[in-house]
């Protein structure tokens, strides 16, 4: 459904993408993980036609985003990182404009708005001005808007950034539901737990390059099952173990300050890049 081949992007002095290649299958929930400035948003902007690539190829639904931009755009919905709703218009008006931009018939737009407002739990807010909605509601409205024209692929760029944990969980359930309905989801995030909870596969990007790509389970299993953080004077060292027993034996030798815990995706990123995601 999504194909990137040696995708490159350079701005005046910065090389934002240094040859990114990956393939996302139909129906997959793919998380694209990395620190701020790693190249996540640039990748999404190229895939959705907002940014011109400097080299390589990007395809969505079998269409090259540069050669057949209109066909590629018909296949996709985008939820950008920042809120980009018309605050002076109502929830319904925002959705109507989106539907018309995508060439939907008026009757289809009406039916789809009923369906989607219920889907994202905003049916009571139909006539409300967007400026009166909370941050979480605006995010859900943006997701509804991106789904209005029935895209095969949904791009979510940091969909939960700045939201409180309860609302974040609600958005996660919504994203899961979208995938279960057959939509391919390409999600960028710098929240490790978001990728762990949601994704079928994860790609780690750092400084414009993919440093690891696999299922969260396999990436973590490659390190081990358990981790021990050993605290030294100005430092902390992490060791990985295949089972809890061997981790405990190691811990007994380092009685002065340690934490025993499960291996997570942060450990994977740290191992590959030597730095933390967030």
């Amino acid at each position: 459904m999504i194909d990137l081949v040696e995708l490159r992007k350079h701005y005046k002095t910065v090389e934002a993408l240094k040859g990114v290649s990956l393939r996302v299958a139909s129906g997959e929930l793919f998380a694209y993980l990395g620190p701020n400035g790693a190249g996540k948003t640039t990748t999404i902007r190229i895939l959705t036609g907002l940014t011109r690539p400097s080299g390589g190829r990007a395809m969505v639904g079998g269409h090259d985003v540069e050669r057949e931009p209109l066909k590629a755009k018909r296949h996709q919905g985008l939820v950008p990182q920042h809120i980009n709703l018309d605050a002076e218009l109502t929830v319904e008006e925002n959705l109507v404009i989106h539907g018309r931009l995508h060439g939907m018939a008026a009757s289809d737009i009406r039916g789809r708005i009923d369906e989607l407002l219920e889907y994202v739990g905003l049916e009571e807010k139909r006539a409300s001005l967007v400026k009166r909605l909370s941050g979480g509601m605006k995010r859900r409205l943006m997701i509804a808007r991106a789904l209005l024209h029935r895209p095969g692929v949904l791009f979510l760029d940091e969909p939960t950034v700045g939201l409180d944990p309860a609302i974040r969980r609600r958005i996660w359930s919504l994203i899961k539901k979208i995938q279960q309905d057959g939509v391919t989801v390409f999600l960028t995030t710098h929240y490790i737990e978001e990728a762990e909870f949601l994704a079928d596969r994860v790609a780690f990007i750092d400084e414009g390059k993919i440093v690891a790509l696999d299922t969260p389970r396999r990436l973590m299993d490659n390190l081990g099952q358990w981790a021990i953080d050993v605290y030294r004077e100005n430092d902390m060292v992490t060791r990985y173990f295949p089972d809890r027993e061997s981790a405990r034996r190691f811990a007994e030798e380092h009685r002065n300050g340690y934490t025993l815990r499960r291996v997570n995706l942060e450990d994977v990123f740290l191992t590959y890049t030597g730095k933390k995601v967030a």
Binding site: T48, P80, G103
Partner: protein, 245 residues
């Protein structure tokens, strides 16, 4: 061509509807002040080129409005682009650049026509009823097309709200006062008259005044405005493409 341009146009009109009374007030204030200052202030006794000054002034004000209100679509785009990030919604839609520009340009023209009707209404309330015929509205719409297209093109080139204000101050304001809106160009030195002949507003104001006073305007003005309108539209399509990173 799809009908996505209608969505762009619809959005601008919905926003205009929501702000309608504020907008109506804003469209009325400046012309009202001009009418009071130049109409009552200078008196009904002043004549210019053989007509009452108010009869001379109203078509000039209409020409100025067709320019300023059409150009104001640039400020709306600027806010949508840099503050609300709505422009990305258009960029991500399956819509050509031509369709986007068409929607915005028509919105600019519609704003200008509404503001023009306000001027005519205000003029009538001062007892000035002129001949608002097809020649008048033809020049009005063509001038709006020129400045609406120019506004879209420049809105794609600017990088901030401050740049947009710069455009208004250095392009529109001088033209508003020097393009034959408030006084006949024949009062200026010959070199200034020659320079001002290069401004579209000069031709628009002249054609609209001739039409409003019941005379037949020079068709050259219409041809020139149509050519400039097409050039501004093409420029806008080009700059929309350039607006991608």
């Amino acid at each position: 061509m799809s009908r996505a341009w209608l969505a762009v146009y619809l959005r601008e009109m919905l926003i205009l509807r929501r702000r309608f009374f504020r907008q109506l007030f804003s469209w009325s204030v400046a012309p009202l002040l001009y009418l009071v200052a130049f109409g009552y202030g200078m008196g009904r006794h002043v004549t210019v080129q053989g007509v009452d000054y108010l009869d001379f002034l109203i078509p000039g004000l209409a020409a100025m409005t067709s320019m300023t209100q059409a150009f104001a679509i640039g400020s709306e785009i600027n806010i949508a682009r840099f503050y609300w990030h709505i422009f990305e919604e258009f960029q991500a839609a399956p819509m050509s650049h031509v369709e986007y520009v068409l929607g915005e340009v028509l919105a600019g023209v519609s704003r200008a026509v509404l503001a023009g009707l306000v001027i005519i209404g205000l003029g009538a309330s001062f007892g000035v009823v002129l001949s608002y015929n097809a020649y008048f509205w033809g020049a009005f719409v063509l001038n709006s097309l020129v400045f609406s297209g120019l506004a879209v093109a420049l809105a794609m080139l600017v990088k901030s709200h401050a740049d947009q204000a710069f455009m208004n101050n250095f392009i529109i304001t001088p033209m508003a006062f020097l393009g034959g809106t408030f006084f006949p160009l024949s009062h200026l030195p010959p070199w200034a008259q020659e320079m001002l002949r290069f401004l579209p507003i000069t031709h628009a104001a002249s054609a609209m005044r001739e039409a409003a006073l019941g005379r037949t305007p020079d068709l050259f003005a219409y041809i020139l405005l149509a050519v400039l309108g097409a050039a501004a539209f093409a420029g806008a399509v080009f700059t929309v493409d350039r607006a991608r990173d």
